[in-house]
């Protein structure tokens, strides 16, 4: 891809990028969220058209005007979000959209045989007649890859493929990628995770702010060098020194918690947990092991089957609107934490609109609300032209600031955050970490749920690992060993004993 430039309204997504992929290599595309990686690949796959620049495949210039053309040229893309139709079977999903044949009839038998053959070749165990909604998340990822293999993709683009995989599954994926390139494919591996990049790729291209920063051989790359290329300045991942906590007051106490997920399957089993004032508890684990259910139970949004949750000795029986008790920064800020169609100030008063400050004699006092909103905007450095602007005009980082401002305003005893840095650039990530630390030093109990192990280890005083709804171990943040945590994330409790245990 040569000189690719793509302008979207208000933003230059790709600025004259030149990118080269060699046969038989795994080429990593690294960059922060918003750097332009997905845009570049969407252009390659025909979902967007480049403003200027050319694409050559095997030396020949090509015009990729639609995904169909891309597929014809042997390009396959596995997207960040699943592109699977739940109601159809695995086989039907795989054959969806394959080049038409005459007569346009479904040839299920021959397709099924081919499916099974490919699955066997790459050790993917999926029954083709299973409806997709029944498949576990990891299998869905394999199915996506199988979809591309079915189309005989020679250039395979994977966009953040490891987001939903456990460490052992990631290893399996890397093995399969190696198998693929050995057979003549070329793979483009998009990620923002430095560690994985270093593990599986042959070369790495780093993008920042839509510009190409450089392409280096993986052999010569180091984690800090890559981080610097990604951000443009040296980045430290050291732990911030912190004063020891003053009190030992129990803020959150969970006893014997059992909880089911949306499908009625147990998500949390016999969970017992204590979190004290002035500490940050990091909750590590692969996504989907009960983190969401735990957060929702604590926030009172989900009713447990058994067990009790107490915040400051008060039993949680529903969503608490007492802002001095609990502040909750939810995982999906746009779906849950914010109301897209509301203004900034309306979002800021989402939980406090009927308090005496803002409602007098049953009437909303908009002037008081506006004043309070402006105060918060200033205090939390929310970049917005005003408080009456619809919130969807704000950037993602600023929207997150609105959520944080709202939740911290009441100086809660317990701050619960779930994936607070997801989708944010490194600068915003740093400021979120700073805020967490500040709250901790103020004396709040902070729960920090995250699937990004490096940040959990950098920020937490204490770390627990969730696996299939159970706590695998309770480790000290200063001394925790990343390999041990990795083992616990897979459910290998024995690793604790081997390491001498810690509690």
């Amino acid at each position: 891809m040569e000189g690719i430039t793509k302008q979207f309204p208000g933003v230059l997504a790709n600025d004259n990028i030149t990118f080269e992929l060699r046969a038989g290599e795994v080429h990593g595309l690294l960059g922060e969220n918003g750097a332009g990686k997905s845009t570049l690949m969407n252009i390659l796959y025909g979902l967007h058209q480049t403003d200027s620049g050319k694409i050559y495949i095997q030396g020949e210039k090509v015009e990729i005007t639609s995904p169909r053309v891309a597929v014809d040229h042997g390009i396959g893309m596995v997207h960040q979000h699943f592109m699977l139709v739940d109601n159809l079977t695995a086989l039907e999903n795989v054959i969806l959209g394959i080049p038409p044949r005459y007569p346009p009839l479904l040839q299920l038998d021959s397709d099924r045989a081919r499916f099974k053959k490919l699955a066997e070749e790459y050790q993917i165990e999926i029954d083709p007649s299973t409806p997709v909604w029944q498949l576990p998340v990891g299998d869905k990822q394999w199915l996506e890859i199988l979809k591309q293999l079915f189309r005989e993709a020679k250039i395979l683009v994977l966009d953040e493929p490891t987001a939903v995989l456990a460490p052992s599954q990631v290893i399996q994926l890397f093995k399969k990628l190696r198998q693929l390139v050995a057979e003549g494919c070329a793979v483009i591996f998009i990620s923002h995770k430095l560690v994985e990049m270093l593990e599986v790729t042959d070369r790495i291209t780093v993008l920042r702010d839509g510009r190409l920063i450089g392409t280096i051989d993986t052999e010569e790359a180091t984690s800090s060098k890559l981080a610097q290329m990604m951000v443009g300045r040296p980045v430290s991942s050291d732990r911030t020194p912190r004063p020891p906590s003053k009190t030992k007051k129990k803020v959150l106490e969970i006893k014997g918690l059992y909880c089911n997920d949306d499908r009625g399957i147990p998500a949390l089993r016999d969970l017992n947990l204590i979190v004290r004032a002035g500490e940050i508890l990091g909750v590590a684990g692969v996504d989907g092991n009960g983190q969401r259910e735990l957060a929702e139970c604590i926030a009172g949004m989900r009713k447990p089957e058994k067990g009790a949750i107490r915040i400051n000795n008060g039993l949680i029986t529903g969503v608490t609107r007492d802002q001095s008790l609990l502040g909750y920064v939810p995982e999906d800020k746009n779906k849950t934490g914010l109301i897209d169609g509301f203004t900034v100030e309306e979002n800021l008063i989402m939980k406090t609109f009927d308090t005496p400050n803002f409602t007098r004699k049953g009437i909303l006092q908009w002037s008081a609300i506006r004043e309070a909103a402006n105060d918060l905007i200033e205090e939390y450095d929310i970049k917005t032209p005003g408080s009456t602007i619809p919130i969807h005009y704000l950037s993602g980082g600023n929207q997150q600031r609105v959520v944080i401002a709202r939740e911290l305003d009441g100086e809660p005893a317990l701050l619960l955050t779930s994936q607070p840095t997801r989708g944010l650039d490194l600068g915003a990530v740093e400021s979120v970490h700073k805020i967490l630390l500040k709250e901790r030093n103020r004396g709040a109990a902070v729960i920090f749920i995250s699937t990004e192990l490096p940040e959990v280890m950098a920020v937490s005083d204490r770390i627990i690992v969730l696996f299939k709804g159970e706590i695998m171990g309770d480790l000290d943040g200063d001394t925790a060993d990343v390999n041990l945590i990795g083992e616990l994330m897979l459910g290998h409790r024995e690793a604790l004993k081997a390491a001498g245990g810690a509690s």
């Binding site: 779906k335 989402m350 993602g396 980082g397």
Partner: protein, 377 residues
């Protein structure tokens, strides 16, 4: 003295924001209405009639005389009341297309109360009958409300189906020898209601009844409710993002149920006002499609309560003037239906543009991220 000035300035800013609100929301619908008239003019022209003649007749029929004005108000009343309910439903995220059935239910309930010769002063009798109408609409909303709030079943089809159930229920009620039927008549209808239960006529010798006042007052109340009360805030939250509302501690199931019941109650009011103010009897099939037209009314106003008032008057004027248009220019009165439909179709084709606000900002990291976020990175 300071306080009085403070209150005055608050009133002024309230008026200003309301006016701004109306102007901004109405720009596109007005444009769409204009287009609708244009296209209809072409059709009228194709029938070898001068569109100007036809439109002048239309206008005269609607506004040209006291009788015409009264007619416009009368036609607008059920559209206004039902339209308000539907608009309120929109704000709560509900698509209530059951106004037709709710009008029947409300009309029937009001008739029952209005047929009883209560020994009470007239205004009390009327009030009771009106409340009965509201209750009738609420009853018709229980099933879709419950199913939507507690079972997540879409209210669209449920309310639609209940429309038909209502039509046939009333059909049965006024058919001899069933409870509400008047005996020995050619057309199925109920007996005439008590004089004390009839809505007062506002202008002598016309049919313009107090229902229109009720509608306007309720419209204002609804507008203020949504904007200035916690209950209205909660309703809007649910309409925009129920998941976030749940996160904020709102009991969404209850709130959705209430919203549906209120929305349906207004439909009942519309039916009651037709019976108590205009027809003075429960006729078979008396609603005749008005409930569906009310949906168009609400949509044209983009769900804004104040806008519904104007929108209802527009539709009422169209219907009132259509007869005169037919008499004078020979264009069938059904043309009014066509204009209505075109107006709505153009409105949804054009869409309701939001105030375009593109804040100027330097190209910092945040804007890069934000700009791309919508496109997949």
């Amino acid at each position: 003295m300071m306080k009085r000035e403070l209150v005055k300035s608050k009133m002024k800013s309230l008026w200003q924001t309301t006016l701004k609100d109306i102007v901004f929301t109405s720009a596109r619908p007005v444009y769409a209405i204009g287009l609708a008239f244009l296209v209809s003019a072409i059709m009228i022209g194709a029938s070898k009639v001068n569109p100007i003649t036809a439109y002048v007749a239309l206008f005269q029929g609607a506004f040209g005389s006291l009788a015409g004005l009264a007619n416009t108000c009368v036609r607008a009343t059920p559209l206004l009341l039902a339209g308000l309910g539907i608009a309120y439903g929109f704000k709560a995220g509900l698509l209530n297309i059951g106004a037709e059935g709710q009008m029947y239910a409300g009309g029937a309930a009001a008739t029952v109360v209005a047929l009883i010769p209560l020994p009470v002063p007239a205004f009390l009798h009327v009030t009771l009958a009106v409340l009965a109408g509201f209750a009738g609409g609420i009853i018709w909303g229980i099933i879709p409300g419950y199913l939507r709030a507690y079972r997540g079943v879409s209210e669209i089809v449920v309310t639609l189906m209940l429309n038909y159930v209502a039509i046939y229920l009333i059909n049965w009620l006024v058919e001899e020898p069933h409870p509400l039927a008047e005996l020995n008549t050619t057309f199925p209808q109920s007996p005439i209601i008590e004089k004390s239960a009839q809505l007062p006529i506002l202008i002598k010798y016309t049919s313009m009844h107090a229902g229109i006042i009720l509608g306007i007052v309720l419209g204002l109340i609804l507008y203020l409710l949504l904007r200035y009360t916690p209950f209205g805030f909660k309703t809007r939250m649910i309409g925009q993002n129920p998941e976030a509302a749940r996160y904020a501690g709102i009991r969404i199931k209850r709130q959705i149920l209430f919203a549906m019941l209120i929305s349906c109650g207004f439909g009942g009011l519309a039916g009651a006002s037709e019976v108590l103010g205009l027809k003075h009897r429960l006729f078979d099939y008396f609603v005749g499609g008005v409930g569906y037209e009310a949906i168009a009314v609400a949509l044209l106003a983009n769900g804004n309560a104040l806008g519904v008032i104007f929108s209802a008057f527009f539709f009422g004027a169209l219907k009132a003037g259509a007869n005169k248009m037919q008499i004078v220019s020979g264009i069938e009165s059904s043309m009014a239906l066509i204009v209505m439909a075109l107006a709505v179709l153009f409105v949804i084709a054009i869409g309701f543009g939001e105030r375009k606000f593109r804040p100027k900002r330097k190209k910092d990291k945040d804007s890069t991220e934000r700009g791309i976020k919508a496109y997949g990175d």
